[in-house]
């Protein structure tokens, strides 16, 4: 990675545009975290390109003083793929929401992950359509009442982490919009990972889905209902750090340290780089009240990236081929003289 020519701070990444999200929207905090992460990454500003789709969060690139492309609904993954493959030297970020990425853009989402193109995908999940003023999304919990589901939804939601791992994803992390410290840390990790890095940001829509994550994020319950995973550390949580996760047969189980003979040694240690997705799948699928919700980098496995494989293939074929320009091409194969 190239070094910054001058040391940048998060303020250098603010554009001259007025930020127009609703007061109290979780997006403000995420913007702040991304700006901090980019400054921390130590790269020059011109190396960053952000691509978004359509939705509230997709206005994001306008508020960042980097290269930005505000695309069309659902297609940010495809546009970002083109940007990155064309110029693999860039740090490419996709900004998308639960409707943009998982409904209209679901196809591009899974194929981006399958190809493992080195893009950092920030998925703002507020479980609602905000920009169209409050309809249910593919991540809305079953039974959610919205303007288009006045009697409650009858469909099962996607869990983004499950979808990512199902599409052979190599990096998945989760953070909470108002946790700027964790978000910044996770965004930096996502950027450093080579390949598609998906970060699910649980984000509160103050107007149409307020307090959607209150049950796990209110100050007084947060530590009991969230677990922040860190590579190499035991999976311990709780205000008193007295709870942990163990494997009970083929399932995760929450245990109390000091009860029933359980000691810290019995608690699972997080291994983000485990290629076998079994445990990662269980961790991304933990939901309150049966489990705490997992945050931090849950999965980070190294694998070849599409963009680098393409560069390598081109270099190899160029070295082998006798066709160096168009004139060579036109005279290749079967020709005859008149």
């Amino acid at each position: 990675m190239e070094e910054q020519t001058t040391k940048l701070t998060f303020k250098d990444f603010k554009s001259d545009q007025e930020v127009r999200w609703c007061p109290g929207c979780g997006d403000h905090a995420v913007l702040n975290s991304v700006q901090r992460a980019m400054a921390e990454l130590g790269r020059d500003k011109e190396d960053f390109a952000q691509v978004s789709g359509i939705g509230c969060s997709s206005r994001f690139p306008y508020y960042m003083d980097t290269f930005g492309f505000h695309g069309i609904h659902g297609r940010a993954a495809a546009i970002a793929s083109g940007v990155k493959v064309a110029n693999p030297g860039l740090s490419v970020w996709e900004i998308t929401g639960d409707g943009d990425a998982l409904a209209i853009g679901g196809n591009h989402f899974i194929h981006l992950i399958r190809r493992n193109i080195d893009i950092n995908l920030l998925l703002f999940n507020n479980e609602i359509y905000g920009l169209t003023k409050g309809q249910y999304s593919p991540t809305s919990k079953k039974g959610t009442t919205t303007k288009t589901s006045p009697f409650g939804t009858i469909e099962t939601p996607f869990h983004p982490g499950e979808l990512v791992i199902g599409a052979q994803g190599k990096f998945f992390a989760r953070t909470m919009d108002n946790n700027i410290k964790l978000s910044t840390e996770v965004f930096v990790e996502a950027a450093k990972h080579d390949g598609t890095s998906v970060v699910e940001i649980l984000q509160n829509c103050v107007i149409f889905n307020d307090r959607v994550y209150a049950e796990i994020n209110d100050k007084e319950v947060r530590e009991e209902r969230q677990i922040v995973l860190r590579h190499g550390e035991a999976m311990i949580f709780g205000k008193e750090r007295d709870k942990g996760l163990i494997l009970d047969g083929l399932k995760l189980k929450v245990v109390k340290i000091g009860e029933n003979g359980i000691t810290e040694k019995d608690i699972l240690v997080h291994k983000e780089n485990e290629n076998n997705p079994g445990l990662h799948m269980m961790l991304v699928n933990m939901r309150w009240p049966n489990y705490p919700v997992a945050f931090g980098v849950i999965r980070s496995v190294n694998a070849p990236t599409y963009d680098m494989a393409m560069e390598a293939q081109i270099a190899k074929i160029q070295a082998e081929s006798s066709i160096k320009n168009i004139d060579d091409l036109l005279h290749s194969g079967n020709t005859w003289e008149v």
């Binding site: 500003k45 011109e46 306008y62 290269f67 546009i79």
Partner: protein, 614 residues
Amino acid sequence: MNNKKEVVELEEVVIRFSGDSGDGMQLTGTLFSTTSALVGNDFSTFPDYPSEIRAPQGTVGGVSGFQVHFGHTKIFTPGDFSDVLVAMNPAALKANKKWMKPGSIVILDRDSFDEKGISKAGYTGDPIKEEKLDKFNIIRAPISTLTKEAVKDMGLDVKTVLRSKNMFALGMVYWLYNRPLNHTEEFIQTKFKKKPAIIEANIRVLKAGYNYGDTIEAMTPSYTVSPAKIEKGTYRNINGNQATAWGLLAAAEKSGLNLFVGSYPITPATVILEELAARKDLGVKSFQAEDEIAGICTTIGASFSGLLGVTSTSGPGLALKSEAIGLAVMAELPIVIVNVQRGGPSTGLPTKTEQADLMQALYGRNGESPVVVMAASTPSNCFDYAFQAAKIALEYMTPVILLTDGFIANGSQPWRVPSMKDYPRIKTRIVAAGADNYKPYARDVETLARNWATPGMKGMEHRVGGLEKDFLKGSVSHDPVNHQKMVDIREEKVERVVQQIPDLEVSGEKEGDLLVIGWGGTFGHLHSAVQEMQDEGKKVSLAHFHHIKPLPGNVKDVMKKFKKIIVCELNMGQFANYLRMKQQEFTYAQFNKVQGLPFTVAELKNEFNNLLED
């Protein structure tokens, strides 16, 4: 092995090879064309095949045909009617009987004309009697039997053996037209390099077919077609899709940019993606996308990053790309969209030709969304028009839609290989590194093209996207007057492309009784029909369009010198209606056909003669 009694000299010949879609008729036709080119004939080909890869054997729906028209004069079309029909089964005869010249030669595989074959094709008795072909020169050759006989000592299985029976038919036709076998033998040797038994079998069968012709020479005299008088140079055989791909590559070279292609396979455009994917040696980044939309969106992303972005598709795919084309219009990024038109609507006739996507190309988007629309007209000039399309896109910072069609995309002809030194440099709008105060929507005063800065360029950070932009700064603007201004300037920019494009040419006299107008892939048939009528002393000329939006600057001057105008297209009159809108003072007659087939010269002449007599 030549021992002929009678050899007749001919000007031009049309041969149609036809059989089951697994019979290898496309290859047989291609090999015959290549040999004809190598002995100095000009030619034009027309592959005509079903959309099923292996349709039910022996049925009319499964017949695959390949027509080649060769001669010692310049050849503009694959020909209306055949002088020789090769029918590998009764269904092939049934499917093609209406395209045979009266009294022409028909070569049949007698072995396939058994009870089963006859009934599968829908005949009740002897097809020759049913079709009243007694005045035709019918050669009933036991092709399957003699193919087996030729290789019986080789110990090959029957399936493998019968797969080479197309070579028997080809050998017979080579005898008939006095063609050498060596080019085809060389081809077989290269293609089956690793399978010596297959090489030997194919060559044995090819020779057996030739010798069979020689042995039963009583059947017919043999013919020769002497070399055409064509310009000196290096030639190669090229089809429209290959020429399109190569023209785009040429534009990448002349602009100093790498080429990115984002496409999804679709008949009949897939070969463009295949050709480009094969050109990693020229630095092509090819991306087989998950769908048509991702195809164009990756292309737009690559263009934002500073590559020459292209996407190739056919009608249904163009429909899927509509929204993204609008995005490229708004972001003013240079991309080329190649639409190889096929029969529509919906899935329509995937393997057949049509020109019914013109209005979709011009107007098939939300909002006022102007793009440059142009069309190639022959297999080989796809190279030049693809080059032009990319040049205009890059110099005007606009999406360009290049229309070709299944007929010219699959059709092939000999092509005098050009030299890249004869092609102009393409000057992109990429701004100089280190330039101060970059404004993404600042424009060139002549072309109105905006400046292009790409991610990675220091100090040029900016945002583009689908929301309306401020006239100067490029930031989001919902200002009503600004929107009007931006709509106006996007339209004006596309109209200014007229400065770049050549005047409309007239083939024939500049004034007369009838001006025939066409566009795109119908050129060959229109040109042949008009030329034949001119030879008959009629005052008919042709004006063939390659540029549709904008139209060439001299259209009015051309049209006003003719008493009547007729617009001929393979659709219901889309270009005629466009002209009615753009050039309102003229009256346009129409000749339209939507059968998934090209025009025939005969039907065109008939129509023009009727109009002249009115």
